[in-house]
Symmetry: C3
Subunit: 132 residues, 3 copies
């Protein structure tokens, strides 16, 4: 945790650099200060086929679903979510001016009773810090 | 909202037109009358690797996950879901005859307390309507 | 049900055989004995763009989200989840040794009140059993 899954319409291919966008989300997540660094995983999924609103061509969307573990109260989640959404929204500002773009962001909480993880990155980062 | 994410096995590549399927879902969503037109976002994700049932070759699936906002009671969601599922099921009727296809559809409700959106398409559609 | 959606970073392209991994998950699901064979659907989604931890290159992740129907108590879900996670974790053992890989697995339960399915594979399997 946390997992950011970004789904976007292929109509954005020529409009955004998806690798940069992933980095914007990752950086914003780090800046919230509420997530362990080694747990942050942002990824994007290109959707070649899509249909938006009234079905006309030329529309596009980008949707971010964040899944996190239990244990952070609502105020903390809202503050972090606000910050992440603002970072993405500002980064994509030019798209809104077209009137043909929709951005969305939702947070889900995983049930800790049925959650498993094994993450070697945490240990690697700790080893670097202590040796560094 | 609403977001329709369709995951399907690549074994359907020669069986269906995924763009047309997205349009079938979008049109069915519009017809329910319970969603704002500008918020409808349907997309499909092709899964190149998959394993179904007993693992034999030749099987296929299509799974639709719909995420919507809060505020619609269960009867409304069930009626809309029934209609959308029937539309997709009828569209894919030939696949069922093979005995090798499984269709599924689930609705999730996003937590409005941790949901963010910025949608320029709503305003564009309104402007078109008023300018007529 | 059940649906296994596996998202993984494209940095694993040269590290794992994703088709084999899907089969490992499918087989582990069958072995739990709690799922109807014809309902098992495992698929993997390659994420070409991603950003992990501190953003450095060379990191990778694989995340499995399992959605199942209602009706299995927590102990049953935990035992099945443990077994599936162990199978995947062991299969990917070499990746952990690099210190640059994170594996995760979560189970969600679909709301049966808004769940639709039509699955011809169940009937095909039954017909084979009775004729076999």
């Amino acid at each position: 945790m946390p997992h950011f899954s970004i789904e976007y319409s292929a109509s954005l291919d020529d409009e955004i650099d998806v690798g940069v966008l992933c980095e914007v989300v990752r950086h914003a997540a780090v800046q919230t200060g509420i997530f362990p660094l080694g747990g942050i995983r942002v990824r994007a999924i290109r959707c070649a086929h899509f249909a938006i609103a009234d079905g006309r061509a030329g529309l596009s969307f980008l949707d971010i679903l964040l899944r996190i573990g239990e244990g952070r109260d609502l105020a903390v989640r809202q503050k972090a979510g606000d910050a992440i959404f603002q970072a993405v929204s500002q980064h994509l500002e030019p798209l809104f001016a077209t009137g043909r773009f929709a951005l969305s962001f939702d947070i889900q909480i995983n049930d800790s009773a049925t959650s498993w993880k094994r993450n070697a990155i945490h240990d690697m980062l700790k080893a670097e810090t202590s040796h560094g």
